[in-house]
């Protein structure tokens, strides 16, 4: 069975609440069937609005949303057949776990035996068998979360929307739930649209991530590419950690450019700069800069250690380098550990391909 690459399609969607500000601007987004796509962005970036438009609780001000080729803008939420997991789970507090799960089946007039079977299957998927008669208030946060996931899946929807479902859980539980949701997705192959502002959640779970800012998708790509090859400085800044240098391009060729900083010059990989004289922000991941590199690297500088912070598995070192005292270095906690002391001078090197010259901040 060939998967429809445009299973969900946002076609030039605009959304404004007050007629003055566009919350979503000209959104063009295709979601493939069976894909796990995450909408990631800071709060107010329009990601939840997109989800609500897809679910049918908001209508686009302009443009169309298509589900499997059909325009759904005029279909009310209850006829869209889209499962949804809400931020605070939205379990019905007056119904037992069984009744919560049976609700979508009962309104679809499914036979009693069939309901029992499906509820049982959905509960075993989230390993909550035996909890049928509990009330939601008698469950822990993680269990409520799982019931909410099971309820959104029990009626076999084509698409499941998840609106920051793990926001209320503690860190350990959140991580284990991330894997659980990912495994459920892999085993049943449903299309998932997931909204979060937590980048690590997005990176671990998704097939593709759409980074939202200012009502626009800044970048849509798989997690590795998003992290390794951010296309603009917002994405570079938002995903992971990032050292930046602001400067001006003084020389540029195919795969290298020279960027003039306040009082020195570095080599970088031209991504969004085209010509000499352009302002740029160079972004470099902390783990790509090495201390005392043995290989030949085309950027080699000496910096002064300002601060050493122990993080267990790694040590963060803040350096004064090239006129900025905010340069962060991540040193893995390996056996050949270096002696790092404050106000010590160290040599730092990185390859120009890892230093991405992006649009100026």
């Amino acid at each position: 069975m060939s998967k429809n690459p445009e299973f969900v399609k946002f076609d030039k969607v605009d959304k404004s609440y007050d007629g003055k500000v566009l919350v979503v601007k000209d959104l063009q987004l295709d979601i493939a069937e069976g894909e796990f796509i995450t909408m990631l962005g800071p709060s107010g970036s329009g990601k939840t609005t997109c989800l609500m438009m897809l679910a049918g609780f908001e209508t686009p001000t302009h443009g169309e949303i298509l589900l499997d080729g059909n325009i759904i803008s005029n279909i009310p939420p209850h006829k869209r057949g889209i499962g949804m997991v809400f931020q605070n789970y939205a379990l019905f507090p007056h119904m037992t776990v069984y009744e919560n799960l049976a609700f979508p089946l009962r309104v679809r007039k499914v036979e009693k035996d069939e309901i029992d079977k499906k509820v049982d299957k959905a509960l075993s998927m989230v390993s909550l068998n035996g909890f049928e008669t509990r009330m939601p208030a008698q469950l822990s946060g993680g269990q409520q979360q799982r019931v909410a996931v099971a309820r959104a899946l029990v009626f076999d929807p084509a698409v499941v929307l998840m609106d920051e479902p793990l926001g209320a859980l503690d860190k350990n539980l959140r991580e284990s739930m991330q894997y659980e949701i990912k495994h459920i997705h892999e085993s049943i192959g449903v299309t998932v649209v997931y909204v979060t502002h937590d980048q690590s959640e997005a990176l671990t779970m998704s097939n593709r991530i759409a980074v939202f800012n200012d009502g626009k998708v800044q970048q849509l790509s798989d997690p590795a590419e998003l992290y390794e090859k951010p296309v603009n400085s917002f994405v570079a800044e938002f995903i992971g950690e990032n050292n930046t240098f602001n400067g001006e391009v003084v020389d540029i060729n195919q795969d290298k450019c020279k960027v003039k900083l306040a009082n020195s010059e570095i080599l970088a990989n031209p991504i969004s700069v085209k010509s000499k004289g352009e302002k740029t922000t160079v972004s470099l991941r902390p783990e790509r800069a090495l201390i005392n590199p043995t290989d030949k690297m085309d950027n080699m500088f000496t910096g002064k250690i300002e601060e050493v912070i122990y993080h267990g598995d790694h040590t963060r070192v803040r350096l004064n380098l090239l006129g900025s005292s905010e340069f962060i270095l991540k040193v893995p906690n390996s056996t050949s550990n270096l002696e790092l002391k404050v106000s010590q001078d160290i040599n730092i090197g990185w390859n120009s391909t890892d230093a991405r010259a992006l649009d100026p901040k």
Binding site: H78, A90, F92, P93, H94, V107, R108, F155
Partner: protein, 420 residues
Amino acid sequence: MSSETKQILTTDGIPLEVSLKKAEKKNKIKAFLLVAPLLLFLIITYVFPIGEMFSRSIDDKMITNMLPKTFKEMEKWDGQELPPEEVFTAFYYDFKVLVDKQEHGKLGQRLNKEKNGFNSITKKLFRQVKRKKIDESTSIKEQIMKVHKRWRNVEYWQAIKRTAPPYTMSKYLKGMDMYYAADGSITQVEEDRRIHRILWLRTLEIAFFVTLFCFLMGYPIAHLLATLPMKYSNLLMICVLLPFWTSLLVRTASWMILLQQQGVVNDFFVMIGLVADDSRPEMMYNKVGTYVAMTQILLPFMVLPLYSVMKTISPSLMRAGKSLGGTPFVAFWKVYFPLTIPGIGAGCLLVFILAIGYYITPALVGGASGTLISNQIAFHMKQTLDWSFASAMGLMLLSGVLVIYWIYNKLVGVDNIKLG
């Protein structure tokens, strides 16, 4: 084995429980002292008056104290035929004391309530006693029987015997249109004189419908209040509360202006041609007026508990209901409505209980067909001065409310009632 758990000691060697009690004692005293003024206030203004009302409603000591000797002698009388000489003698001496104290009139009034006709015959007897016409050396029975033929009627002596106990339930029976018949059995009054029963039923009926109207109108308002954005909901809240800030009397009076036959509402109906000018409907001094005015006045008591419950229902629950495939109606009926039941319970209970004892509004706009039992109570308090009867009806009302509360508790559960 659990009963044999080892006693835990504090570091000083005092058992932990004792130590804990000691530490808690101070807090308990403090807490009690804080509520003591309220407790005292409640006892003085609530428990004590209700006790007083109860004793007044069953009190019949006055006549017991007036005729001590008579009742003592009557204990030996079987009550079938005319009482023996001793009873007449005892009655005569009791009566003489009353004549000296000029309290014979009270006795006549009290006995007249028991049986019509006593008033005149006690007056007759009084004149004989006053003029010292009764010869104490011969049979007093014969002489009293000669005063009036009713003194020869055994029913009148039976009536006196019935008043012997210091307590009586007759006021309560009267409140239910019943009385003690001559033979002491409980009997209903004639059909055309059963006015209290009509009033009780009408009170229940009006309270029920006022509650229903309040619910039907209050539910959407409360929902709107809970879901509107803040700036609109505040304005709406003021509109709901505005009646609260206006005097009850003023509100009722304005309803009188609106509803009377030459009133604003009728003028409007005539103006739009709904009714002819010479056949304006009567909307006041009947049940319609009572319904309209009471519903308006009691509406906030329905809206506020509903609002406070609806405010806590997350809007995502309705969304969840819809996204799971429920039509808006199903989502409302299966998800939203069951969650508002605590508010409905509280609102209905409040409105019903307030309505059942409502006084001013039905008194002013109710007319003859719109008055309630509370108006009857007030009538006996102020007009007939039969305070014991008023007390009895008041207590019947109170126990009715308690019964309703109990039924409510069985149906809805007090834990499920959320007042705010």
